[in-house]
């Protein structure tokens, strides 16, 4: 997704920088970031001071699962090293577009309701008239339920009167589809703010770990075993 669409591409792209506490060369910095790209489906290449990466369908717990493509460039500003990132996310774009899908479902429901009223409403009305002719018996609770105080079921005759007053119920209620469209818009907004912040935090944490510390940590983990649960058998 390297389309040059200024402003619009902010929907799925994140740009920013991470200031480093200690001066690092590009090689040193990318060495520290290396574990982030040693995951299934990851590919990356370093060219001078820039690292380009892409991740194909990363695992759920991959730290860079949301931003699956981008570049990281190390430069110096005011005597301090900084990592400048420019990354993009298919997930953010799809989440931004998801409300359109659910609005589409809502409109389909509205159209089906209209079609139902126009085409089959008369048949339904005849069937309902037939049903209405059948005498409905008031259902009784079991004596045990009466003893325990459960409310008696409604009298079907009284209920019928109430229903007549109500507007004819439509086949599909599009409210859920509208709510889901709104929900996806909220999820998008949360993701657009949260995910770049988490991305920066991940980079900062990775850059703070010296390679020798990372190796010691790895050894300790290997010593502790691969899984926190006892293995069967």
């Amino acid at each position: 997704m390297h389309v040059n669409l200024p402003y619009i591409d902010r929907i799925w792209r994140a740009r920013g920088e991470v200031l480093l506490d200690e001066p690092l060369t590009p090689d040193e910095a990318f060495d520290r970031l290396d574990p982030l790209f040693q995951t299934a489906g990851s590919a990356y290449a370093v060219e001078g001071d820039t690292l380009g990466y892409s991740k194909h369908n990363p695992a759920a717990q991959d730290k860079l699962a949301t931003f699956t493509r981008g570049t990281l460039r190390l430069d110096r500003q005011d005597g301090r090293s900084r990592l400048v990132f420019d990354v993009s996310s298919t997930a953010l774009l799809l989440c931004f577009l998801a409300p359109l899908l659910f609005l589409g479902f809502a409109q389909t429901m509205v159209a089906l309701n209209a079609w139902d009223v126009a085409g089959t409403g008369a048949v339904d009305a005849r069937e309902k008239d037939k049903e209405a002719e059948k005498p409905k018996v008031k259902q009784e609770l079991h004596p045990l339920d009466k003893l325990l105080g459960a409310p008696e079921p409604d009298d079907p005759d009284k209920k019928k009167d109430k229903e007549k007053d109500k507007k004819k119920k439509e086949k599909f209620d599009p409210t859920r589809a509208y709510v889901l469209a709104g929900l996806f818009f909220v999820i998008y907004l949360v993701g657009r703010v949260l995910e770049p912040w988490l991305f920066k935090r991940t980079l900062r944490a990775a850059l703070a770990v010296k390679p020798e510390d990372a190796e010691a940590l790895e050894d300790a983990r290997a010593g502790a075993g691969p899984s926190p649960q006892p293995e069967a058998g």
Partner: protein
């Protein structure tokens, strides 16, 4: 990996599975946390049953049930945050957004499809063809008995549909995408190919007439038990609960990367069906999924049954009529995702 013998099967030979209640983890923390996460599940279940049993008629509506269900899911999302079963299953923004997409499909697209070809329509057609009335004598039974019958009849159907999906290749093609989930969270039950979600939702309950209030109590049973199948919360589940009800522990075994373990714990709410039919394995697993935990994206999930069926059809067409089955290939099939029974 040696695995553990359960009945005449070896569980955990391909991937780690913890077998036996005595080996699974417990809630860690102070007495209040222990108390909450020990009694939460029964308290919610009995509270909901009492609510629906005594709620006035104007409250006893399906719409109120849906609102309670949504609030309950939000509460459970909070519990996943406070007391996760495994850190490796922690919900991320991307996983949450993906899960909500599948939940959304269930509430919109599948509802539309169900209205035209769902179990209600099929049952009505059968009743019309044979001039059957509904079996209505159940309405005179006590409400809780009716609710238990609704829940157990539906779950019995779901058990056999699910077991069928693991044993008949065409059905397996629809169910396989659900087994590519690599962690359990409360909305993961909705993740899968829509055809599978349509099939698993079919029930025979429509043949019987029950009081509406009994349906609401049965719904509460499904909500306050079935929801825990896919949840990342560590509970000290009571012994009686895990004997009769399905739990996240049971369902994690079903989703584990161990092939034999996936062929167990098929029920949705009542694990008692698995105990009766000999497919129950008590235990839990952390490493879930297929193909070593490869995540399946939405596009592949939607297309999987068709692309796989097409590939198999092509392979069948291109296979020479007299070609013998290579022994090595047969051995591999035993560990492939498709059911090999």
């Amino acid at each position: 990996m040696a695995g553990v013998q359960v009945g005449n099967r070896i569980i955990g030979a391909d991937a780690p599975v913890t077998v036996g209640w005595e080996n699974i983890g417990r809630v860690e923390g102070g007495p209040i946390k222990q108390f909450v996460f020990t009694h939460f599940q029964p308290a919610v279940l009995f509270g909901l049953i009492a609510f629906w049993y005594y709620a006035p008629n104007e409250w006893a509506l399906a719409s109120i049930g849906i609102i309670i269900g949504l609030c309950f899911k939000v509460l459970l999302l909070g519990l996943e945050w406070v007391n996760p079963r495994y850190r490796s299953w922690q919900l991320t923004w991307k996983e949450f957004a993906t899960d909500v997409f599948y939940v959304g499909l269930g509430y919109t697209l599948l509802r539309m499809v169900d209205t035209y070809i769902g179990d209600g329509v099929m049952i009505e057609a059968v009743q019309g063809a044979f001039a059957w009335e509904k079996f209505s004598w159940f309405t005179s039974l006590p409400l809780l008995v009716q609710a238990l019958m609704i829940s157990m009849i539906f779950d019995f159907g779901q058990y056999w549909m699910h077991r069928g999906m693991h044993n008949w290749y065409p059905l397996w093609l629809t169910h396989a995408p659900h087994h590519y989930i690599t962690q359990l969270n409360i909305n993961k039950g909705a993740v899968g190919n829509p055809i599978e979600l349509f099939l698993i939702g079919l029930g025979i309950g429509g043949f019987f007439d029950f009081l509406p209030r009994a349906f609401l109590i049965a719904g509460a049973l499904g909500m306050a038990v079935g929801t825990y199948q896919h949840i990342n919360v560590r509970f000290n589940t009571p012994r009686w609960w895990r004997f009769i009800f399905n739990t996240t522990e049971h369902h994690s075994v079903h989703h584990s990367q161990d092939y034999e373990a996936t062929r167990s714990n098929y029920s949705g709410t009542w694990i008692i069906w698995d105990r009766i039919f000999g497919t129950c394995v008590d235990g839990e697993a952390e490493l879930l999924g297929m193909e070593g935990g490869r995540r399946m994206d939405i596009r592949e999930t939607m297309l999987f049954p068709f692309t796989e069926a097409y590939k198999d059809f092509r392979a069948w067409l291109n296979k020479p009529a007299d070609a013998p089955e290579p022994a090595a290939a047969q051995a591999t099939v035993a560990h492939q995702p498709e059911p090999a029974e």
